[in-house]
C-alpha cells in the first residue's frame, strides 16, 4: 500500500520528515512517498488549494499551517474516530484551533512562536542584558552596531526580521502591535480593532528601524533570508521561529555557541509580551483512497516519541506539555523551559474570526505595514485606510 505526504523543506524539516516516515514504513510495511512543497507558506497554500479544489488524490496527508483549518477544513476528514483520544495530550488551544464545526480536521505536529535570537558574545562584550522592551532593543542594537562598525566589523546590522509583504510580515506586525497593547487586527468576535493609537506607536518605532538598525533590504526578507544574515554573523538580533536555533548551533555555523534566545520584547516596561503563534499540523485529505492508513501515519508522526526526536534533533517545539519536562529535550534546547509560557500563550492570528477571508485580511494588513515601513508614510492615516478596507472585506465586520 502506498500513500503520500507533503513535507516542508525549511531548515532540516525534510530530513526529519523522511526519518519519521521511514520509521512508520518499517513498523507497518506500507510505502510512503514524500512530496516536497514550496517553502513560502503563501505558495504552499496556493498549491494545496489548486489540488484540493480539483479533487486530486495525489497527496493523502497534508502538512498545513495553523491558520489554514478555517480555509481548508472542508477538504479534510474528521480524525476523531481514528485518534482514540490522542488529541487530549496536546495543548488544548491547538486542538481548539484544529476543530472546525465540531470536526477534528488536523492534529498538531509542532508548535511555533516568534522568538528573539541574540548574539550572546556581542551583548556580553558591550555589557548589555537581553532587552526587555522594544525601546531597549532599539537602543542596544544601535549602540552595538555603531561600536562594532567602528571596530572594523562594517557589515554588522542591529536587527533583522521578516519584512517582505507576506504572511511573515503579518506575524511580525501583529507582535509589535499586540505587545504595545494594540490588539490583534480583528478581535475574536469579528470587531476590527487595528486602527488605534497604540498600533500607530508600535509602527512608528518599527519604521524607525529600517535603514538605521535594520538594512533596507529587510523589506524583502523572509525567514531564511533573515537567518542567512544572522547566521553569517552580520546581525546582533533576529526575530525568527525556534527552528533557527538548531541551525545556528550547527557544526558549520559561524555563530555556533554565541547565540541566545529570549521571548520577544514588551511594548513598555510593565506591558505585555506577544508572540505570533505558528506551527504546522497534519491533516488527511477526504479524497484519499486510504484514509485509515493516512490517519495512522498522522497519529504516528504526532506521537510523543516522534515529537521528541524532532525536538532533540531539530529544536521543533512539541505540542504536548509533557515533553516540556523531558530532560533530554531541555538539554538540547534549554530555551524550551524558559519560553514555555510564550509557547503556551502565544497569540493566534485572527484566522478563526475571519474564516475563509483570512488571507485577504492578512494581505491587506501586511501590505499596509509594508507601505508604512518602505515609504515612510504616517501610520495613523494608513491604519484608518486599512480599517476601511477591512470593513469593506467583512461587509461591515460580519465576515
Amino acid at each position: 500500500m502506498q500513500i503520500s505526504i507533503s513535507c516542508g523543506a525549511v531548515g532540516v524539516e525534510l530530513e526529519l520528515c523522511r526519518e519519521g516516515v521511514s520509521a512508520w514504513e518499517e513498523q507497518t510495511g506500507n510505502r510512503v512517498e514524500i512530496v516536497s512543497t514550496p517553502n513560502s507558506s503563501t505558495e504552499r497554500l496556493a498549491l494545496y488549494q489548486q489540488m484540493l479544489a480539483a479533487g486530486a488524490d495525489d497527496i493523502d496527508v497534508f502538512q498545513i499551517d495553523i491558520v489554514w483549518p478555517g480555509i481548508l477544513g472542508g477538504y479534510f476528514i474528521d480524525l476523531a474516530p481514528y485518534s482514540d483520544g490522542a488529541e487530549k495530550a496536546h495543548f488544548p488551544n491547538l486542538i481548539e484551533n484544529d476543530t472546525v464545526d465540531g470536526k477534528l480536521v488536523a492534529l498538531p505536529w509542532w508548535t511555533d512562536a516568534g522568538v528573539l535570537f541574540y548574539r550572546r558574545d556581542l551583548l556580553e562584550k558591550h555589557d548589555f542584558a537581553p532587552p526587555e522592551t522594544w525601546a531597549e532593543l532599539t537602543a542596544i542594537a544601535g549602540t552595538v552596531q555603531q561600536a562594532e562598525r567602528e571596530a572594523g566589523n562594517g557589515d554588522l546590522w542591529g536587527y533583522v526580521w521578516q519584512g517582505r509583504a507576506y504572511e511573515g510580515l503579518t506575524c511580525n506586525g501583529l507582535e509589535w502591535i499586540d505587545s504595545f497593547g494594540g490588539g490583534t487586527i480583528v478581535a475574536d468576535d469579528g470587531t476590527i480593532t487595528v486602527n488605534n493609537s497604540r498600533a500607530a506607536a508600535a509602527l512608528d518605532l518599527a519604521a524607525s528601524w529600517v535603514g538605521s538598525i535594520s538594512p533596507r533590504g529587510v523589506l524583502n526578507y523572509d525567514e531564511e533570508a533573515a537567518r542567512g544574515v544572522f547566521q553569517s554573523g552580520r546581525a546582533v538580533f533576529m526575530r525568527n521561529w525556534p527552528y533557527a536555533w538548531s541551525l545556528a548551533q550547527g557544526q558549520d555555523s559561524p555563530v555556533r555557541g554565541k547565540v541566545g534566545v529570549v521571548a520577544l520584547p514588551a511594548g513598555s516596561p510593565d506591558g505585555q509580551r506577544s508572540a505570533c503563534l505558528g506551527g504546522w499540523h497534519l491533516a488527511v485529505s477526504r479524497f484519499s483512497e486510504h484514509p485509515a492508513e493516512a490517519a495512522d501515519l498522522v497519529l504516528f508522526l504526532t506521537s510523543a516519541e516522534r515529537q521528541k526526536v524532532r525536538a532533540v534533533r531539530g529544536s521543533y517545539n512539541p505540542t504536548r506539555p509533557a515533553l516540556y519536562e523531558d530532560q533530554e529535550v531541555l538539554g538540547v534546547s534549554p530555551f524550551f523551559d524558559t519560553l514555555y509560557e510564550t509557547f503556551e500563550t502565544a497569540n493566534p492570528r485572527p484566522a478563526r474570526a475571519t474564516g475563509t477571508r483570512y488571507n485577504r485580511v492578512s494581505f491587506a494588513f501586511s501590505r499596509a505595514i509594508h507601505e508604512i515601513l518602505s515609504k515612510g508614510i504616517e501610520p495613523a492615516p494608513r491604519l484608518a485606510e486599512l480599517e476601511r478596507d477591512l470593513l469593506r472585506l467583512s461587509r461591515g465586520g460580519q465576515w
Binding site: 503563501t42 488549494q49 538594512p215 533590504g217 518602505s374
Partner: protein
C-alpha cells in the same frame, strides 16, 4: 458565377483548415470564453461549481455609498501603471540594445559564430532560473552586484535593489532587458542578413557617413522585422508574470496585472474576481496592440508589397 472546380477547391480549403480551427477553438477561444463568463459570476475556488450570475459587479458595483469591484480597487490601478511602465521601458531598451547588438554581430570579425551563440545565453536560460539567480545577485547583504559596485567605489553603502519601492521595478526591468534583448537582436540580425548589398556599395561610393546610412537605408529596410519583434515583446511584457513574481512576490511596488489576477484567483480563491481581472488584462493587451498596429501602420496580413 463559380465553377465546379472553384467550389471543390473552396471545399477542400475548409477541409484542410478545419483541424487548425478546431484546435484554436479548443485551446484559445473556449478558455477565453470561460474566463469571460466566470468574470460575471461570484465563483470561488473553495466551492467550485456552486456559483451565481452577478453581472458586472466584479468590475464595478455600488452598495450603501461604497464602491466595490476591480475598477474601484486602487491596487488594480497601481498594477496597471506598473505593467505599462514595465512594458514600455523594457521594450524600448530591448529594441535599442537589440539593434546595436545585431549591427555588431552582423559585421565580420573573428569569432563571430561564437559571439552569436554567446549572446543567446540569457534568452536560453529558463526565466525561473535566471530570475532566482538575479535575486541572489541583487541581494542587499551578500549580493555580488552590491559587492562589485562597492569595490568600484560607485556606491558607499549596499543598495536594497529589490526591497526599496523606488528601485524594485527598475531592477526587474533591468533583468528583463538582460534576458530578452537577445530575442530582439536575433530577429534584427535575421533581417540584416537579407539586406541588398548594392545600396551599401552605392552609399560607400558616394562617401555617405555610416550613421546617415543607418538611418536612411538600414532602418527603413529592417523596419518590418523590427515592428514584428516589438509587437511580440510588447504582448509578452504586458502579461509579464514569472520574473516579477519570483523576484519580488506580491509586493505592491512591482505588482503587474498578471500578478494581481493570480493573487485574486489563487491566494484569495476568488475565481470570479480573478477572471474579471484577466478579462481586463486581455482587453488592455488587445487595445494596446490595436493602437500599436495603427500607429506603425504595420501590415501583418502579408499583403504583397
Amino acid at each position: 458565377m463559380t465553377s465546379d472546380l472553384t467550389r471543390a477547391r473552396i471545399r477542400s480549403a475548409w477541409l484542410f483548415l478545419a483541424p487548425m480551427l478546431l484546435v484554436l477553438a479548443l485551446v484559445a477561444a473556449w478558455p477565453l470564453a470561460r474566463t469571460f463568463y466566470f468574470s460575471l459570476t461570484d465563483a470561488e475556488l473553495s466551492r467550485f461549481g456552486d456559483y451565481g450570475f452577478i453581472g458586472l459587479e466584479n468590475f464595478l458595483a455600488e452598495s450603501r455609498g461604497v464602491t466595490y469591484g476591480i475598477l474601484a480597487d486602487p491596487l488594480w490601478w497601481v498594477a496597471v501603471k506598473n505593467t505599462l511602465l514595465f512594458a514600455l521601458v523594457s521594450v524600448f531598451f530591448e529594441t535599442v540594445f537589440g539593434v546595436i547588438i545585431a549591427l555588431v554581430l552582423n559585421a565580420s570579425f573573428p569569432g563571430r559564430a561564437l559571439m552569436r551563440a554567446a549572446v543567446l545565453i540569457p534568452w536560453a536560460i529558463p526565466t525561473v532560473v535566471s530570475a532566482k539567480m538575479w535575486a541572489w545577485m541583487l541581494h542587499d547583504q551578500f549580493g555580488i552586484v552590491n559587492d562589485a559596485l562597492l569595490r568600484l567605489g560607485l556606491i558607499s553603502a549596499p543598495v536594497a535593489w529589490l526591497a526599496s519601492s523606488d528601485l524594485a521595478l527598475w531592477s526587474v526591468v533591468a533583468v528583463d532587458v538582460w534576458k530578452t534583448t537577445p530575442f530582439v537582436a536575433l530577429m534584427v540580425l535575421a533581417a540584416l542578413q537579407m539586406l541588398p548589398r548594392d545600396c551599401y556599395e552605392a552609399a560607400r561610393v558616394d562617401g555617405i557617413h555610416p550613421v546617415r546610412v543607418f538611418f536612411h537605408v538600414t532602418l527603413p529596410l529592417i523596419k518590418p522585422a523590427l515592428i514584428v519583434a516589438v509587437i511580440f515583446r510588447l504582448l509578452d511584457a504586458m502579461r509579464v508574470f514569472d520574473i516579477v513574481y519570483i523576484m519580488t512576490g506580491n509586493a505592491e511596488a512591482t505588482m503587474t496585472m498578471s500578478v494581481y489576477a493570480r493573487q485574486q484567483f489563487v491566494d484569495f480563491q476568488d475565481v470570479g474576481f480573478g477572471s474579471a481581472a484577466s478579462t481586463l488584462l486581455f482587453a488592455a493587451i488587445a487595445l494596446l496592440t490595436v493602437i500599436y498596429l495603427m500607429a506603425t501602420r504595420a501590415d501583418l496580413g502579408g499583403r504583397a508589397r
